[in-house]
């Protein structure tokens, strides 16, 4: 077996997590740099994965396969298709920014512990206050982020259903602590209430995802039993199952397939999140610090949509088609509902969370439209939404950290005192509303076009979402950034610092570059989408009046005979 690149890509952040956690309490800064270093190393590895991926080659590449739990046919199987490779790259790309943006986020806990001693209200996290020597917030914060990264990478690379499941669920543990243990100290009703809300959000996050995950576990076991029944030897291997299905050895009864599909889909729909399973997201994103919120929406939740594409469609094509109408309706509701709720929010971070729900609706819509434009668009959407939300949310985080409040009403006129901050915020917002020229436009347009070509009504309803997107983004911008400067806290507000600029600038640059030149990504994604399309045995609807491949020079308007002006 060749060099296990994927394993190493996941291992580096895992090792980084352990190493960061082991840094002594006094050397906070060293821990930060160590974490950044490891995340950058992961980024390099992910870049190697992306570069090494051959779009013309096999469906799954860089595969690794080792026996793990032989009794149950569980194997340690990794491999990426184009979609997986791109998602790993996205993850590895965002983590350094998350770390950079959260550079000082955990210090507040550290200081609270030091200053207040026993009675520190600093966070509902494990062992808040008192035991300073044992509880090292900075090290913990960065170690948890790296741990999440490692698990997400494995999830994107796993081609064994059981392996995927384990990391899909294990991710919840570090995320739980990240949400519950670290807050932005900007709750409207004071820090005590904030800590309460935080632990509520963390528990809600955990329960929702755990519930979804357990249902999925049942389906995973069901899949194993079904495969054991039909193939003689049970297996969780995606590749084996797909092959067996293609060769006709493995075919599920309609009802079984549908039940299994529902089991998987529910878990992913919670994670994604799809209406009406979405209510944990605004809480989690609202209470967590901005970098953690980015981690949730841009990285962890992507596992859900990614898994819909890889597992739901890949394993249960028949049931996927059966469920399509319902899923599309749910996705549409998500789009419109998320956008409308975003309009009604008073809290900046919750607004972004609801916007994300709307965007996840688009992703799911694209996946289940079952056209190559829709699925390609959905995949690109995952990447671009990750980058654009990261840009918007991180700048929002910088803004919140300056004023110490998440309420939109507490701002106004920031543009005047901090133009760079406002400018980057606007660019992030414009990316969120899919302004053409920025990357998310391409994906959103592809999703809409792909949906429209099969379900015109759904396409039109979803298009209404882009109007609402403009509404919530511009309302947010208008209320926070424009107008006269009235509040003294805002008059003193400093503009972006060098570190913050270093975090935001590359993201914005990426948004612009990918918006103009997404070809490298589409090249990698296209073959994977074709494979998925062949999995579900769907073909793009043909245009009714296909045009011949005209060059521009072939076009001459028909001469009208009636022209007597000459």
């Amino acid at each position: 077996m060749s060099f296990p690149l994927l394993t190493v890509t996941a291992l580096v952040p895992a090792v980084g997590a352990v190493a960061t956690a082991a840094v002594p309490a006094a050397k906070r800064t060293a821990a930060k740099w160590l974490a950044l270093l490891f995340s950058l190393a992961t980024l390099v590895l992910a870049a190697v994965v992306l570069a090494g991926f051959d779009p013309g080659g096999d469906r799954y590449q860089m595969t690794e396969s080792r026996a793990w739990i032989a009794d149950f046919g569980v194997r340690y199987e990794l491999g990426v298709d184009g979609i997986g490779a791109v998602m790993i790259a996205l993850t590895a790309l965002l983590i350094p920014f998350v770390i950079g943006a959260g550079w000082n986020d955990a210090d507040a806990d550290e200081d609270a512990d030091g200053a207040a001693g026993s009675g520190a209200p600093g966070g509902g996290g494990p062992a808040a206050g008192g035991v300073k020597s044992r509880w090292r917030p900075t090290q913990g914060f960065f170690a948890l982020i790296l741990a999440v990264e490692a698990m997400v990478v494995i999830s994107f690379a796993a081609t064994d259903v059981f392996l995927f499941y384990i990391f899909f669920e294990a991710m919840l543990i570090p995320m739980y602590f990240l949400i519950g243990g670290f807050g932005d100290k900007a709750h409207a009703a004071g820090e005590e209430e904030g800590a309460k809300q935080r632990s509520y959000a963390a528990v809600k996050f955990l329960l929702y995802n755990l519930a979804g995950g357990l249902i999925m576990l049942a389906a995973v076991i069901g899949l194993y039993v079904a495969s054991a029944d039909q193939l003689g030897e049970g297996t969780f291997s995606l590749q084996q199952l797909t092959q067996a299905r293609a060769s006709g050895d493995f075919s599920l009864a309609d009802n079984t397939e549908r039940l299994l599909f529902l089991g998987f889909f529910l878990a992913f729909a919670v994670k994604a999140p799809l209406w009406p399973l979405h209510t944990w997201l605004p809480n989690a994103m609202g209470e967590a610090t901005a970098p953690v919120a980015v981690l949730i929406t841009a990285v962890v939740d992507k596992v859900g949509t990614f898994a819909m594409l890889r597992f739901c469609l890949g394993l249960f094509p028949g049931a996927s088609q059966w469920a399509t109408p319902v899923v599309i309706v749910l996705a549409l509701i998500s789009i419109i509902y998320g956008a409308l709720l975003a309009v009604g929010q008073r809290d900046i971070k919750r607004l972004v969370a609801y916007a994300s729900i709307s965007h996840f609706g688009f992703i799911v819509l694209g996946i289940f439209a079952m056209t190559s434009q829709g699925q390609g668009g959905a995949t690109l959407y995952m990447v671009f939404h990750g980058i654009s939300t990261a840009a918007l949310m991180l700048v929002a985080g910088f803004l919140i950290s300056r004023r110490g409040s998440r309420l939109i009403a507490d701002y106004g006129g920031v543009q005047k005192v901090a133009p760079v901050l406002a400018g980057t915020f606007l660019v992030g917002g414009l990316a969120t509303l899919s302004l053409p020229g920025l990357a998310p436009f391409i994906s959103e347009f592809l999703v809409l076009a792909g949906t429209f070509s099969r379900y015109p009504v759904a396409g039109i309803v979803a298009t209404a979402g882009i109007i609402l997107a403009a509404l919530y983004v511009l309302l947010l911008y208008q209320r926070t950034m424009t107008g006269p400067v009235e509040k003294p806290e805002i008059r003193r507000m400093p503009d972006l610092k060098v570190r913050e600029l270093a975090v935001v600038t590359p993201l914005i640059a990426l948004l612009v570059v990918l918006g103009l030149f997404p070809k490298p990504l589409t090249q990698i994604v296209n073959p994977a989408v074709e494979h998925t399309m062949s999995d579900v045995q769907k073909k793009d609807p043909k245009p009714q009046h296909p045009v011949a491949d005209h060059g521009w020079f072939d076009y001459k308007p028909a001469k009208h005979s009636g022209g007597d002006h000459e």
């Binding site: 076009a449 511009l474 208008q478 001469k559 002006h565």
Partner: protein, 628 residues
């Protein structure tokens, strides 16, 4: 090479917006330079194009493959034909003039660099819009100008009204954009492509229903961008932006993009007569709507905005007439670009001299104080009302003639509407003219006691006004001469001579009569009598017109209030119902476990009972299983 047209202002925008304070001192000249460079390149292309025969003038340049997804090919590719060329020259020409004007106008603004960055961004997006060779790239330019317009309307962001106006403009435009997006989807599903060439050349293959749908969606887009009824409400508010912006974007170029879109998609509209009818109706309604609103406004810029709306109504109407009208629509567009830009710059000049006072009731008698402005504004005025011999006369007369040529009852109605429009145009423009430049001086010291001292504007502002005045006077005649403009556009838009039931002379005379009536009425009302400083209450129509014919009120009540109520109730429902259902489940389980907890009473004997009971049940189950 074509890319350079777009590239130059884009570079300017990038440098100015990212460059930081270092560029504060010379940034505006850089912007003017790059805008001028774009104009020069445009002229070079134009000369090159003139050297070739009519059918051979179209240029095409493919830059890179943009979104290559299975079955979905979108390229970044430009196409420069006569129609685009016309726009390129108008945009870069007027754009450059307004850049120069802004140097003077924005001299004291601390954020001037940024202003020029936005202006350059606008030029780039607008050029992209007219140069794109497919609808998707056009869409990029389409929203790009929307963004630039947003940024420029809201340029003075610390004014809440400006920020709100900017947001409103973008949002209303977004509704139109959604229409364009759906039109593109329809093309994609119908033709499998959305590049101009393949779609337009095979448009007739598709069913009429499809084409009507596409046409209506394109019209929706045009309504948004060109401020046509029912999406016109943003244009009046957009006057919150600096005056050069109003001149460039909201008079000369961006708002005419809708006309461009309809003309460009002529092949589709030609094959969908129903859609054309709707276009004509929208144009006619807006024509009157804008004119009526223009009559009632006291704010000079809003009066001009109403006028703009009305004039674009003319263009849309002409474009809706099909091949008999496209060329005239574009011709009116170009001449309108000259005189309306000139009028706005004149208005800006007046405001510049009047401490940014916009209420015409506080002007009066300015002709003595601002002679250059008076003359250039006056020429623009004569052009817009269609004074014979000036450019507005030629272009508008053609449209009225074409409206009659539509034929049948429709033709008569349209002709009558356009004539009526011409009369109202004459009326409201004379009103503006009279209130601003004639009569007594009516200005007073403002709240801080500064009495305005009207003075002529600096050279950098007057020169562009003079140039535009020249355009307003001569462009029409030049275009009309030997039908040069129609011939120039014919290879792209096609041309068909309309057969009017009235002779050309009769139409012209009718137009002149309408003009005289309009001017006379206004002169009687505003030129001869003193204008009151405070607006009289006015008739019901006047009051409604002052409020944009209640359209804003409708929007406010139905959309804003309704939307607010909807979102509020949804937020409530999300908390209470969706989340409540989940929390309720949790509470149920909580309560249930509270009950079950009582079973855990701590008495070992109780537990033993459950144990033995359980054992009994197990045995019973085993026995049953064996028995079965």
């Amino acid at each position: 090479m074509i890319g350079l047209l777009v590239g130059a202002p884009l570079l300017g925008a990038a440098v100015l917006l990212c460059g930081g304070r270092r560029l504060d001192r010379a940034g505006h000249w850089l912007a003017c330079l790059l805008s001028g460079a774009s104009f020069v390149i445009g002229v070079l292309f134009f000369l090159d194009m003139l050297g070739r025969s009519g059918d051979d003038r179209s240029l095409h340049s493919h830059l890179w493959s943009w979104v290559p997804v299975e079955g979905f090919q979108a390229d970044v590719a430009f196409q420069l034909d006569q129609l685009s060329m016309t726009f390129v020259l108008l945009i870069t020409g007027v754009g450059t003039l307004i850049h120069i004007y802004s140097v003077g106008y924005m001299e004291h603004d601390p954020r001037r660099r940024r202003f020029f960055g936005y202006l350059n961004l606008f030029l780039a997006a607008m050029l992209l819009l007219v140069l794109a060779d497919n609808y998707l790239l056009l869409y990029v330019g389409w929203e790009g100008v929307g963004l630039a317009s947003y940024l420029l309307i809201g340029f003075w962001q610390d004014k809440p009204s400006a920020a709100a106006a900017a947001k409103k403009a973008f949002l209303v435009n977004r509704v139109g954009d959604a229409g364009l997006a759906i039109a593109i989807f329809l093309m994609f599903t119908t033709f499998g492509s959305f590049a101009f060439a393949p779609v337009l050349s095979s448009a007739t293959d598709a069913s009429e229903g499809k084409l009507t749908a596409v046409g209506l969606m394109l019209l929706l887009a045009a309504c948004g961008k060109s401020a046509q009824v029912p999406l016109q409400s943003w244009l009046g508010d957009a006057m919150e932006g600096p005056t050069p912006v109003s001149a460039l974007i909201h008079a000369a170029t961006m708002v005419t993009a809708g006309v461009y879109l309809i003309t460009r998609s002529g092949a589709i509209f030609n094959a969908a007569p129903d859609a054309q009818t709707v276009v004509v109706v929208v144009g006619a309604v807006t024509l009157l709507f804008g004119a009526i609103v223009g009559c009632a406004k006291d704010d000079i810029k809003k009066a001009l905005a109403g006028s703009t709306m009305s004039q674009i109504g003319y263009m849309i109407l002409a474009a809706g007439l099909g091949p008999i009208g496209y060329a005239f629509a574009i011709m009116h567009l170009v001449t309108h670009g000259f005189f309306k830009a000139g009028l706005f710059l004149g208005a800006g000049s007046v405001m510049h001299g009047m401490n940014d006072e916009v209420n015409m009731r506080h002007y009066g008698g300015l002709r003595k104080h601002m002679p250059v402005t008076f003359v250039t504004f006056g020429l623009g005025y004569l052009a817009i009302i269609g004074f014979p011999g000036l450019s507005g006369f030629f272009s508008k007369d053609q449209i009225i003639e074409a409206a009659f040529a539509k034929g049948g009852t429709q033709g008569w109605i349209l002709g009558a509407v356009t004539l009526l429009g011409a009369a109202i145009t004459a009326y409201y423009m004379t009103r503006v003219m009279a209130m601003t430049f004639f009569g007594e001086k009516r200005w007073k010291p403002d709240a801080e006691g500064n009495e305005p001292h009207p003075h002529e504007s600096p050279r950098s502002m007057t020169i562009p006004m003079v140039v535009l005045a020249f355009g307003s006077v001569f462009a029409g005649g030049l275009f009309k001469f030997n039908e040069s403009f129609v011939n120039w556009l014919e290879p792209v838009t096609q041309f068909e001579h309309g057969h009017s039931p009235l002779s050309a002379t009769a139409v012209t005379s009718a137009t002149v009569v309408a003009l005289v009536i309009g001017v006379g009425a206004a002169w009687l009302q505003y030129g001869r009598r003193t204008v009151p400083s405070v607006a009289p209450r006015g008739s019901l129509l006047t009051r409604a017109a002052r409020r944009d014919l209640l359209q804003d009120d409708f929007n406010h009540i139905v959309l804003v209030n309704g939307g607010t109520y909807l979102t509020r109730s949804l937020v409530y429902a999300d908390n209470k119902v969706v989340d409540g259902a989940v929390n309720g489940t949790a509470a149920t389980f909580g309560g249930l476990s509270g009950r079950l907890r009582r079973l855990q009473n701590g008495f070992a004997r109780s537990y033993a009972v459950s144990m033995f009971g359980g054992a009994a049940v197990l045995i019973a189950a085993t026995l049953l299983m064996r028995a079965v």
